[in-house]
């Protein structure tokens, strides 16, 4: 295992730049997740690390070794694909042994190492089967074993869970994470599923339009998003458009006057509110910001309720409140007081469009 460094990594096709100067440091044993909507450049970045896409600029290093110009087969990166990509004409054991054969590992050593890898992914006794005889989850574990058995310097996961059904996904997620920690694997995973990203990562990288928007922990991204894109993409937010009128003062387009923490420059801005920071009912009146509104929609989510509240003709917020068995569920049309502390307002200046 080793650290992985991307330095100013860029990829353009003609005038179209799909990855723009991405610089990242993945520490030895760290699990880094590249997160972003489709087309944000995360997959291209991963494929540059794997060696399938030649970068237009920048460099990639594993430890001190510059691998920018190396072909994929000389990089020693373990790769797991969304489609599993097992070799259909080989047994599970032959699939796992492939990388060892390529490395000219002695025959006597291959058997035990394959068995060990299959044991790690809890597939002992499956060696003689063919991929088509396995379930999707089992195939994905074979793919993982095949990538791990070569003791790669870095493990690269390309949307590894997207083809699994929801329940299995939760299981494999935890399994991969446990294995990664147990073996101390330096790992880069690409996903568009933020829940997956949040549960597995040590650190996350949010990308959009080929650029890195923010690098940080789960809490960094959620509580201190760097920009409006991150606030919108990670978790849910209600957006209120308006203007910063003075230190800590914001006026919405609908005329709502809010007190906000932090020092945003005066001018056009957007306030993002996380739904769980909002309070409904009598307690709301004591908070920094509170307003009267009308319930316009309620989603019943089981443990939680999403309550949409209309404050005036333009402004409308969503609050998420726990669904208490004793509490009354707000009904559409109810007049209600809603409030939130100044610290709940995430203020982002808006560039003049």
């Amino acid at each position: 295992m080793a650290s992985l460094t991307l330095d100013g990594l860029t990829k353009s096709y003609g005038d179209n730049t799909v990855v723009q100067s991405v610089s990242l440091d993945v520490k030895d044993g760290e699990f880094l997740v590249l997160l972003g909507p489709s087309g944000c450049g995360k997959t291209t970045t991963l494929r540059m690390i794997a060696g399938f896409v030649p970068p237009s600029g920048g460099s990639i290093r594993i430890g001190e070794r510059d691998i920018t110009q190396l072909p994929p087969w000389k990089r020693n990166a373990g790769l797991v694909f969304q489609s599993y990509a097992l070799f259909p004409h080989m047994t599970v054991a032959e699939n796992v042994a492939f990388g060892l054969e390529m490395r000219k590992v002695a025959k006597a050593e291959i058997g035990p190492r394959v068995a060990e890898a299959l044991r790690l992914v809890r597939l002992e006794g499956y060696g003689e089967r063919y991929p088509r005889q396995l379930s999707g989850g089992q195939q994905q574990r074979v793919a993982l074993a095949r990538a791990l058995v070569i003791r790669p310097d870095v493990l690269l996961l390309d949307e590894p869970l997207s083809n699994l059904d929801a329940k299995l996904r939760l299981e494999v997620r935890l399994e991969i994470r446990a294995l990664q920690q147990q073996l101390g694997l330096t790992t880069v995973m690409v996903t568009h599923d933020q829940e997956e990203a949040l549960t597995m990562a040590d650190r996350l990288v949010v990308m959009s339009e080929g650029r890195v928007r923010q690098v940080g922990s789960q809490a960094d991204l959620y509580e201190r998003p760097a920009d409006l894109f991150v606030a919108d993409f990670v978790g849910r937010s209600t957006m209120i458009a308006g203007t910063v009128t003075g230190p800590g003062a914001f006026r919405s387009e609908g005329g709502l006057v809010l007190r906000c923490a932090g020092e945003a420059p005066q001018g056009p801005a957007t306030v993002a509110l996380r739904p769980e920071r909002l309070t409904l009912g009598a307690e709301a009146a004591g908070l920094d910001n509170h307003a009267a509104g009308t319930v316009s929609f309620v989603s019943y989510l089981g443990a939680m309720l999403d309550v949409h509240v209309r404050l005036n003709d333009t402004d409308h917020v969503v609050a998420q409140i726990p669904n208490r068995a004793d509490g009354r569920i707000p009904a559409v049309g109810d007049a209600i007081t809603i409030g939130w502390p100044a610290s709940a307002c995430l203020v982002f200046p808006r560039e003049a469009a």
Binding site: G51, W73, R75, S83, A85, F98
Partner: protein, 271 residues
């Protein structure tokens, strides 16, 4: 009533299916039957049965050398056709470039162009090339093989391209990430995956070449003969069952090739 209607429909369907099958098999059955007739001029009912016509084949030099030449040409054309078609298919299936669609159609063209037209044009081409360069192309074995390679290519390209479409490219990338260079990846991952298409393409190419008459007529030189030409020439003078016996052997050769192929590749799954 309902049940009756359905039954009638089913009987009709089976009737048509069996009638069609019979129509297809009828020539095969009659040729095989005829090959064992005792009399020289075929007439029904047969006056008796005999194996002498199979013996007559071996006595006929044209049939023997024709068979050898046809086999030689078909094998050579199939091998060359595969060596050209597999790389061509890899590129056509994976790269979009200016004219790639046109090239794809071009490689399938020999299926569409009548054999006589192809034969004539290759013949003229060989004459012109020989005049221009002095190379002894016309009537050479090489020229014949080159022509037959054209017959093989559409089959191999079509079937290999089809099996490439089912191949997950990620499997090749996985192999490379595991340390296999391009060649190793091709031989260990790509080729095994497209093997059904390669084998089936080779078989159909072989059969097409082995049975080809129209093109060969233009391309065989003096003193060279293929099996279909030998059959044609024989029929010009005689109609005894020797020709039927030759056909039976030809059918057997092809049937054996198909059975062997089917052991390795389920033909029904590729075609």
């Amino acid at each position: 009533m309902m049940a009756d209607g359905r039954l009638a429909g089913r009987v009709a369907l089976y009737g048509v299916a069996w009638a069609t099958l019979g129509f297809i098999l009828l020539p095969l059955i009659f040729v095989t039957w005829l090959a064992f007739f005792a009399q020289e001029i075929p007439s029904f009912p047969p006056e008796g049965y005999s194996l002498k016509w199979f013996g007559a084949i071996t006595a006929n030099r044209n049939f023997m050398t024709g068979f050898a030449t046809s086999l030689q040409v078909a094998v050579a054309a199939t091998v060359i056709g595969l060596l050209l078609a597999v790389p061509a298919s890899l590129i056509l299936a994976r790269r979009q470039f200016l004219g790639s669609a046109a090239l794809n159609q071009l490689l399938l063209l020999p299926l569409v162009v009548p054999g006589v037209v192809m034969g004539t044009s290759i013949y003229v081409f060989q004459i012109e090339t020989e005049i221009a360069t002095g190379l002894p192309l016309l009537g050479s074995l090489g020229g014949l093989v080159a022509g037959h390679t054209l017959l093989v290519i559409p089959w191999t390209v079509r079937l290999v391209t089809a099996s490439l479409a089912n191949l997950d490219r990620a499997a090749e990338e996985a192999a490379q990430s595991l340390g296999a260079d391009q060649w190793t990846t091709f031989f260990r991952v790509t080729l095994p995956a497209i093997r059904p298409g390669v084998v089936a393409g080779a078989l159909f190419g072989f059969v097409t070449s082995f049975g080809n008459l129209e093109m060969s007529l233009f391309l065989v030189g003096p003193g060279r003969i293929t099996l279909p030409i030998a059959i044609l020439q024989y029929l010009e003078w005689k109609i005894d069952p020797t020709v039927a016996a030759v056909s039976v052997i030809q059918i057997l050769v092809i049937a054996v090739a198909m059975v062997i192929t089917d052991r390795y590749v389920k033909l029904a799954r590729v075609v």
